[in-house]
């Protein structure tokens, strides 16, 4: 796997939209060609080379291209935009749309990430060692087809509106989350190891949520349905089970009504 290292050398006055920082855009290019890739600061077009020091050359295909992003990229957006393969490592914290519309490959953000990370994710793996912003793994505005595959791990806390309109894939948050988890979800799984604020699983049609910590206010649409012993992500424990959202329409599969499941660790 060929590695390209880009280091911030000329911080943008406003915010830098760098949707060309992805293995797919770098594949088959030399350092100089990568430096010519277009980026935008507001409405003024520029090139990657003006903001980043670029060393090493990309692999022939996206799959064997690794990108390491160094320096202060807190005001850089769209890193890993629409990537389908390869690897991206962001040493520090970055801004919005990390791995948005990502189809494959592995993206690791060692610091925090902004909102709209992994929007409408179809596959691949996203690891955020710091905190994640709002709308993690959510659908784009107005789209009823949200995250459909892939795996997201957030070691810190996450924001509100995780996994909105989720269809598949998995999100694990080691820390706490804000309001709204898997709203309108029709599939997929979310595990929250910290506390979840409130409004969990609103208008959920199908899918599973595990909450290890506390929930301030339960959704009235989730009916208690006994307790169950489960092993979740390496933790064996007794969970209080809730089915819902009873206010939403539910499909019948082979005669049985399918509900969303919410498990709260006791």
């Amino acid at each position: 796997m060929e590695t390209v290292t880009i280091t911030m050398k000329n911080a943008p006055a406003l915010y830098l939209e760098a949707d060309t920082i992805s293995p797919d855009a770098f594949a088959g290019k030399s350092a100089t060609q990568i430096a010519e890739l277009p980026v935008f600061e507001g409405n003024s077009p520029s090139t990657l080379g003006k903001y980043f020091e670029i060393s090493g050359s990309a692999g022939a295909t996206a799959a064997d291209t690794k990108i390491v992003v160094r320096g202060d990229v807190k005001k850089v957006k769209y890193i890993g935009f629409k990537m389908t393969a390869g690897e991206v490592v962001i040493e520090g914290s970055t801004d919005q749309y990390v791995g948005a519309w990502m189809k494959g490959g592995k993206l690791t953000a060692k610091g925090d990430v902004g909102a709209f990370a992994a929007t409408a994710m179809k596959g691949g793996e996203l690891i955020i060692e710091g905190n994640a912003g709002n709308y993690l793994g959510a659908a784009y505005r107005g789209d009823w087809r949200g995250m459909s595959g892939g795996k997201i791990l957030v070691k810190g806390n996450a924001g509100s509106d995780i996994g909105m309109y989720m269809l598949g894939g998995e999100i694990v948050v080691n820390g706490n989350t804000d309001v709204h988890v898997m709203t309108h979800a029709e599939g997929g799984k979310t595990i929250i190891k910290g506390n979840a604020a409130s409004k969990i699983g609103g208008q959920m049609v199908e899918g599973t949520i595990f909450v290890f910590g506390s929930i301030d206010v339960m959704m009235p649409g989730f009916k208690p349905d006994g307790e169950v012993e489960l092993e979740v992500d390496g933790t064996k424990a007794k969970f209080a089970r809730f089915i819902g959202d009873m206010g939403e329409r539910h499909k019948k599969k082979k005669g049985i009504i399918v509900y969303g499941n919410l498990y709260k660790k006791i």
Partner: protein
């Protein structure tokens, strides 16, 4: 002698009353009396005659004083500002007519700016919810002629839309509602016992910030499923009783306002309210309608939509429209420091934005087009007074139910005062010259 102009449109709130009568002097220079408008509308018409109006553009000097300049210089300043900026924000548009908005859109496209209207702090989250789940709505005449169940959820028309109840929702005697308010049941949901709630048959005094839970509970009650004992401070029995009342009508209408759009979980409150309306459509006929604030914020949304494709928070920096509230919306752009110039028209962000956003406006170069002296003009570099829209100049505007009504000019503006449409056209031509566009 005087003459009375009838069928005048009041340019203040989304109710857009169009039966106002204005008495003006024969030469059309002085406005003397206003009839049929509420106290706010009357004040807007009469304030156009006040003596201490700003009539000339003025530029903030280093020492903080205002220097009066000509409209030409003001147009040059604005065009240079927009041409130079890497990410200008053009905010407001809600108290001006659709023709001015159309020219404003042309300016935004040439300047590759972000443009947004007051929906960002009003019904923006409603538009996000509509984009997720749709909007079963109707025009206000349908409410007048058919509604027998009226719900005001998180809105206080007694204060914000004073004539709404007498023109459309509670008191009028429509085609099928001959007994007026006697043929209607009013339900109000509000954490306070507002003046609207005092008129209600049922007032659900909800715990503030828990609208999402209560709406979800109503949908669960409609399906006859299990409910916890109390939801959002309302006992389960009262929720089931309210659900039965909603279900029992022949035509129900839910009006909702800032109570649900501005409190916790924002767009999801409206999302759930629309889902409740769709569920109620299985039992009887139901519609839902946002109580839009400004008289032409709906119009701004419509013009943005048919020219760019999105109703607000439009980002044109790439030469085409992108949209994602939270990234391209005014408050986030300002609080995160993403814009380097601000152009406001037909609104007052200085008074109605959180202070952190107003500080961002004060930090960058900014132009404020407004006939009044406002906190926005107080923090802007250039203040360009223009004629009162709807009083001193006409133009199309859209009511809260998207019905277009053509405003009319009733009195002349002060000597030498330009309309916003003329000023924007001047700015547009100069900007095109600066950018070398045909």
């Amino acid at each position: 002698m005087t003459k009375t102009i009838t069928d005048v449109i009041c340019p203040f709130c989304g109710t857009l009353c169009d039966d106002v009568e204005v008495v003006v002097s024969d030469d059309g220079k002085k406005l003397l009396e206003v009839a049929n408008a509420c106290v706010i509308g009357t004040e807007k018409f009469l304030h156009s005659q006040s003596a201490d109006r700003v009539t000339k553009p003025r530029l903030r000097q280093e020492d903080g004083s205002w220097k009066t300049i000509s409209y030409d210089e003001a147009a040059d300043y604005t065009a240079k500002l927009l041409a130079k900026a890497k990410k200008p924000l053009m905010y407001g548009w809600s108290s001006t007519n659709c023709e001015a908005q159309s020219v404003g859109n042309e300016i935004a496209e040439v300047a590759k700016a972000c443009c947004d209207n007051t929906a960002a702090v009003c019904h923006g989250t409603t538009l996000i919810a509509v984009q997720d789940i749709g909007l079963p709505t109707c025009t206000l005449g349908e409410v007048k002629n058919r509604a027998d169940r009226v719900i005001f959820w998180g809105c206080n028309p007694a204060h914000a839309h004073p004539r709404h109840m007498s023109r459309y929702s509670i008191f009028p005697r429509g085609f099928f509602t001959g007994k007026g308010q006697m043929s209607r049941k009013l339900v109000v949901v509000d954490p306070r016992c507002t003046d609207t709630a005092k008129m209600a048959d049922i007032h659900l005094q909800i715990e503030q910030g828990r609208d999402y839970e209560l709406l979800n509970a109503l949908r669960v009650a409609l399906k006859g499923e299990w409910l916890p004992d109390t939801v959002a401070g309302i006992p389960a029995e009262k929720i089931r009783e309210a659900a039965d009342i909603l279900k029992s009508g022949r035509f129900g209408i839910i009006f909702f306002g800032m109570g649900v759009t501005q409190s916790l979980s924002k767009n999801h409150n409206i999302d759930e309210a629309i889902a409740l309306t769709k569920d109620l459509n299985e039992y009887t006929k139901y519609s839902i309608m946002p109580m839009r604030g400004h008289y032409n914020v709906t119009g701004s949304g419509e013009v943005f939509a048919w020219q760019f494709g999105f109703p607000y928070s439009v980002d044109l920096t790439r030469g085409f429209a992108r949209y994602n509230p939270g990234d391209s919306s005014s408050i986030d752009l300002l609080c995160r420091g993403e814009v380097d110039a601000v152009f406001t028209i037909g609104s007052d962000p200085g008074a109605h934005f959180p202070i952190s956003a107003v500080k961002a406006i004060a930090k960058v170069d900014s132009v404020c087009i407004d006939p009044h002296i406002t906190p926005t003009s107080g923090v802007s570099k250039l203040h360009v007074p223009v004629a009162f829209n709807g009083v001193e100049t006409g133009g199309n505007c859209y009511r809260m139910d998207n019905v277009p009504i053509d405003c009319r000019k009733v009195v002349d503006p002060p000597e030498g005062m330009m309309t916003d449409l003329d000023f924007l056209t001047m700015v547009c031509n100069r900007l095109k010259k600066l950018k070398g566009v045909a």
